[in-house]
């Protein structure tokens, strides 16, 4: 009986531990990114293809069995660099900023982390998502880099358990937190205002 209960908990936490999980991650379209970026005079941004600079490019997390061993990959159905770029684009659009060429500002950089982790606690399971990127903002008017920074989006959810829908939700929210970190960056906004 005890074994069945333990197995049930493991399945509830990790799904089937031996099959690869593919998460349909995306910044949710109804997320409100509106912030001080909307006060910047409208500009056109061109997001160059971001580099995938993660230390582990093969997966975004590990499934583990009841003994803590890595048993299967957790993957994203879409390249993580695209997900981040798409989130930034959506956030800029919500703030009245344009996209396309010729652009006022080119955004380039790399995704340095895109990771999902499960931590079992005594009473709860903690799901952690973390997305990080380094971005550089290049002004085509001044022909110079006007700003660069590291950005981070973290989302933590503690529940009694959760399957792939919960994992996806955690990673969706992590991208949103990353985009928010970019769009609410007062130093970036100051640099953009100066570049006009």
């Amino acid at each position: 009986m005890k074994t069945i209960w333990l197995l049930s908990v493991v399945v509830l936490v990790q799904g089937c531990a031996f099959t690869t999980a593919r998460l349909n991650i995306a910044a949710r379209p109804d997320t409100n990114f509106k912030g001080p970026m909307s006060q910047v005079a409208p500009m056109k941004f061109d997001i160059k293809p971001l580099e995938d600079a993660r230390s582990d490019k093969a997966r975004i997390g590990w499934k583990r069995n009841g003994f803590g061993q890595n048993t299967a990959d957790i993957l994203s159905t879409r390249p993580v660099t695209e997900l981040v770029a798409e989130g930034i684009r959506a956030g800029l659009k919500q703030n009245g900023q344009g996209a396309g060429i010729p652009s006022d500002i080119n955004i380039s950089g790399s995704v340095t982390r895109f990771w999902f982790e499960v931590k079992p606690n005594f009473w709860t399971i903690e799901f952690n998502g973390n997305v990080e990127c380094d971005l550089e903002f290049f002004s085509n008017r001044t022909n110079s880099v006007i700003y660069k920074s590291r950005y981070s989006g973290t989302y933590t959810k503690k529940t009694g358990g959760g399957l792939e829908a919960t994992w996806t939700e955690v990673m969706d929210a992590s991208i949103e937190k990353l985009v928010e970190d970019i769009l609410f960056d007062a130093n970036l906004i100051e640099a953009l205002n100066k570049s006009k």
């Binding site: 333990l6 409100n32 912030g35 001080p36 009841g66 803590g68 931590k119 920074s149």
Partner: protein, 205 residues
């Protein structure tokens, strides 16, 4: 300020009265501010690492035991950090930055929590401190988790979780041994979170 679990019992509705210079002259709508959780300083290191030996030995029960041991190790690191930064506060820099941003923007007149008839906001700071941001390089960054609860005047209440991480990474020893580093990194993330919370209210659709 001592970092005990005091808030769990006593500070569930600690009223933070923001005395803002010139607030009476502000044209904006009144906004009362409370700070129901002051925040607990944490160091999250072992808790961030993947589950390990404990779970191998004894499955999920082992994981739970290991989780307890990891929390204890993190507690020791917290004590080390507090020795180098005894005056750490999760709330003060955040609330000051929050009020300053609202004051500068001018849409709201921040008043004490007894004000009635206007909008109300509660900032519950769950925790702040240092977390293991790069497990490969074993480097830490400052962070803060808070919940913003807003009751606009005559509109539907809303809430949002705000999680902000520091931009820089350092080894834990650097935070402990380099004077002023922990304070500067923590204050930076708290101020950014305070400004973020204010902007969330200002720019809410």
């Amino acid at each position: 300020m001592k970092y005990t679990n005091g808030w769990r019992f006593t500070a569930l509705f600690c009223i933070f009265m923001l005395k803002t210079a010139g607030a009476a002259d502000q044209p904006g709508q009144p906004l009362s501010v409370t700070n129901s959780k002051l925040g607990v300083l944490e160091v999250i290191s072992h808790r961030m690492r993947p589950v390990g030996a404990g779970i191998v030995v004894a499955g999920l029960i082992g994981a739970a035991i290991e989780s307890g041991i990891e929390s204890s190790q993190d507690e020791d690191m917290k004590k080390q950090l507090l020795k180098s930064f005894p005056g750490a506060s999760c709330s003060q820099p955040l609330l000051e930055a929050f009020a300053a941003r609202l004051r500068a923007e001018g849409s709201f007149a921040v008043e004490d929590a007894k004000g009635k008839g206007g909008a109300a906001v509660d900032i519950a700071i769950d925790e702040c401190g240092l977390h293991l941001a790069d497990t490969t390089a074993d480097q830490f960054a400052s962070y803060v988790y808070l919940t913003l609860k807003v009751k606009p005047a005559g509109a539907v209440a809303w809430s949002e979780k705000i999680q902000v991480s520091g931009r820089n990474r350092y080894n834990f020893d650097e935070f402990v041994n380099q004077p002023g580093l922990a304070q500067a990194e923590l204050e930076d993330v708290l101020k950014r979170a305070g400004v973020r919370a204010a902007d969330k209210i200002i720019y809410k659709k």
